[in-house]
């Protein structure tokens, strides 16, 4: 309704109404003045510290003399922050995977893209295979890079991707099981889901490192990366199950009946009729769960994997850069902020696209 009125308003009346909103009542005027004073003091100081007086060139902290931010240390540690201990000569492989991932996600997101469906299929099936071959190597032309050399932002993204890719199918099965007619199946699913949801992620990661090796058959070695990936998948499958259950509930009853009327069996109906609709409708919740998961991948430093935050933690302990922690944390925070904000904006757009009648 408001959208219909807005274009007919003139510029002056718009300015008038915004002035009235900002300074209309004494309380509002006071709030506005306080806010403006806040910006007037904070923004210039921030600009001076972060940009005007900051240092970027140079090789050590002696280059940082102006009292501004010392970004030098991020430049020097760039490789650790992005790739961990990945061999510098092989870094192009990580970059290639990153470009592929971004192109596929953006392509699958754009509504105008005629190849959208194909890109989603590529992202779900072909990309994981290509990415593991490129990152791990071990084939002719690509030397093997063990997972213990993986780190930095790359580790955050890889762990998040594996966890989402593993947790969505598992979550789908759990969500179906939770809706099953059979009481045993239902209570087993509820038990599994609630157990994981009750657990703190820190404890879950510890269980991955300390208990998972006990559960494995004798002679079966697990490295840290695999243990962490396994528990992340299990942990997130419970949250994905709840996200997907919402989608399953949103599929109209008529769809189930129509599938039955066509003579489709249980699994055929699920595969051809119900799941495509349910998954499409759960995309926003799945993306939101994935955002939480991506942020949470930074917890792996507690069990000794070195992600981007781990690289900063290591750098601030280095006597050469002691006391420069603020720059490191702010840098990592901004990377997470940009990625998570973009994903959450995408999730909101998809939500509107799925339900154009909703007012926002």
């Amino acid at each position: 309704m408001q959208q219909a009125i807005a274009p007919s308003r003139s510029l002056t009346s718009m300015m008038k109404s915004s002035l009235k909103a900002t300074f209309g009542t004494p309380l509002n005027a006071a709030i506005s003045i306080v806010m403006l004073a806040f910006f007037a003091t904070v923004l210039p100081a921030l600009y001076r510290w972060g940009i005007a007086a900051a240092s970027l060139s140079g090789a050590d902290r002696k280059a940082c003399i102006d009292g501004g931010a010392c970004w030098v240390f991020l430049r020097i540690r760039w490789h650790d922050l992005m790739y961990g201990s990945y061999p510098p000569t092989e870094v192009w492989r990580v970059n290639l995977v990153a470009v592929m991932l971004v192109v596929l996600i953006v392509g699958a997101f754009l509504k105008a893209n005629p190849w959208r469906r194909q890109l989603v299929i590529l992202l779900c099936f072909a990309f994981p295979v290509a990415a593991s071959v490129l990152l791990l190597g071990g084939v002719p032309g690509l030397p093997y890079v063990a997972t213990r050399f993986w780190g930095g932002l790359m580790l955050n993204v890889v762990l998040a991707f594996i966890a989402v890719a593993g947790a969505v199918p598992l979550g789908l099965v759990l969500a179906e099981a939770r809706r099953a007619k059979d009481r045993t199946v239902r209570s087993l699913a509820i038990g599994f889901i609630e157990l994981w949801r009750a657990a703190p992620l820190v404890t879950v990661l510890f269980m991955g490192i300390f208990i998972l090796p006990f559960v494995m058959p004798r002679g079966f070695e697990l490295n840290k990366f695999v243990s962490v990936a396994v528990v992340l998948v299990l942990f997130n499958s419970a949250y994905m199950a709840e996200a997907i259950r919402g989608g399953l509930q949103a599929v109209p009853r008529g769809q189930f009946q129509a599938a039955e009327a066509l003579g489709l069996g249980f699994w055929q109906a699920r595969w051809l009729v119900i799941w495509p609709q349910a998954l499409r409708m759960s995309v926003p919740s799945i993306v939101n769960t994935a955002i939480d998961l991506f942020k949470d991948t930074s917890l792996v430093i507690i069990v000794g994997l070195f992600d981007m935050l781990g690289a900063v933690q290591q750098a601030v302990r280095d006597p050469q850069w002691l006391g420069l922690s603020a720059e490191g944390y702010i840098f990592v925070a901004s990377i997470f902020l940009v990625i998570c904000s973009l994903l959450s904006a995408m999730s909101k757009t998809i939500e509107r696209e799925l339900d154009p009648g909703r007012r926002e």
Binding site: S32, V185, L188, F210, I302
Partner: protein, 382 residues
């Protein structure tokens, strides 16, 4: 052969249960084999042995001769402490920011929105580490403490506050605590009468309030307690006396509270927007201003919607308190999963205890929530 639907269901149930049982047995065989291989045994005996480590921050007496079980209790109490502090702070900050997000003033609204998005979209662990490493570690030494108020000192070793000390020479300290308990009960009862109960029954009010007040006064008097104020004082390089709030607690408290408050702010905003538009129109027809409408009409109704997701945020805060292990705040994860696990190697047992604590907490909270939902449904709201 034709099987009835019920029979098929039974067969499926038996098959499913068998599958789960087989998986459980296989896991048990693997675990016991691996334990034997490492010369470990599954037992909780270690809990009775002396812990032989000290805990720097504790609410009850503890020294290195005490048992692992008592160490776990110290950790559990520290978890409860930081969770309660963070929940209270997060609620206050979150509800304030929630109302800012609804402000008609675009400057305030946009700025608050920016802050909320910034906090929501960065990892919680990063925020805790930021408060700990960047802010609290940069504080001055004890000799150069900040002194924001009289007898309050802030330095790199934490926040030092004056403390009330109670001493009962005749050993009746518990009576003094009973008096305090009665006083708190009186306060809570009074608040309930003021804000929740609409129709006051005068006789009942006088009886209950008078009874509680009498219990408080009499037991305080019998206990003959002596109250003294202990002030923090600089001795050498550190403060003595008063209460010390360690920087680890402050960092975890602030980190948990700020992170959760951004989600609470969004919840409050969403719940207020979900209040039917007719309510706002009716309020403005009655001549209420924006602030009054929010306080008297919308927030009370939004409260009904917001309670279940708010409680799940409280659970999240409690679960996230395990991040304390990253900055060595001695909560249950640090004490059991960190130090105890390192010393004893009893990985399965320590994790079982921690998981047990959190599962129990979840069960209690969801039982309470079910009661609340039934209560609300009975009243015909929501």
């Amino acid at each position: 052969m034709q099987l009835s639907g019920r029979r098929i269901g039974q067969i499926r149930q038996i098959l499913g249960l068998t599958l789960v049982a087989v998986a459980a047995v296989l896991i048990a065989i693997n675990v016991s084999g691996n334990l034997q291989l490492k010369g470990l045994s599954l037992s909780f005996d270690f809990l009775g042995r002396p812990a032989s480590f000290d805990i720097p921050f504790k609410l009850i007496d503890f020294n290195s001769r005490d048992t692992y079980a008592r160490a776990a209790l110290v950790g559990l109490l520290n978890t409860v402490l930081v969770a309660v502090l963070a929940i209270i702070t997060a609620t206050i900050v979150g509800v304030s920011f929630g109302t800012f997000l609804l402000s008609p003033n675009p400057l305030l609204r946009r700025t608050s929105m920016m802050f909320v998005e910034m906090i929501k979209n960065t990892p919680q662990l990063l925020q805790v580490l930021f408060w700990y490493v960047v802010i609290l570690r940069q504080l001055p030494s004890a000799r150069e403490s900040y002194q924001p108020l009289a007898n309050v000192y802030l330095n790199v070793r934490g926040l030092f506050l004056p403390a009330l000390q109670m001493a009962a020479p005749n050993g009746r300290l518990w009576l003094a605590w009973a008096a305090i308990g009665a006083l708190v009960a009186l306060l809570l009862y009074g608040m309930r009468q003021l804000f929740v109960v609409k129709r006051v029954e005068r006789n009942k009010l006088i009886a209950v309030a008078g009874g509680l007040a009498a219990v408080a006064v009499i037991s305080w008097w019998i206990s003959a307690v002596e109250v003294s104020l202990s002030r923090p004082e600089l001795r050498g390089f550190n403060f003595r006396g008063g209460v010390q709030i360690v920087p680890e607690l402050i960092a975890l408290w602030v980190g948990l509270a700020i992170y959760a408050s951004s989600f609470i702010a969004d919840l409050v905003r969403g719940a207020v927007l979900a209040v039917p538009k007719g309510q706002e129109e009716a309020a403005s027809a009655l001549g209420l201003k924006h602030g009054q409408t929010l306080r008297l009409v919308k927030l009370p109704q939004a409260l009904q919607i917001v309670v279940p997701p708010l409680v799940s945020q409280y659970l999240n805060i409690t679960k996230s308190s395990t991040l304390g292990i990253a900055i060595a705040y001695p909560e249950i994860m640090t004490v059991l999963g960190g130090t105890t696990l390192n010393q004893t190697g009893q990985a399965i047992e320590t994790m079982l205890i921690i998981m047990g604590v959190f599962i129990l907490l979840n069960l209690i909270v969801s039982a309470l929530m079910n009661r609340y939902n039934r209560h609300v449904a009975l009243q015909g709201h929501a």
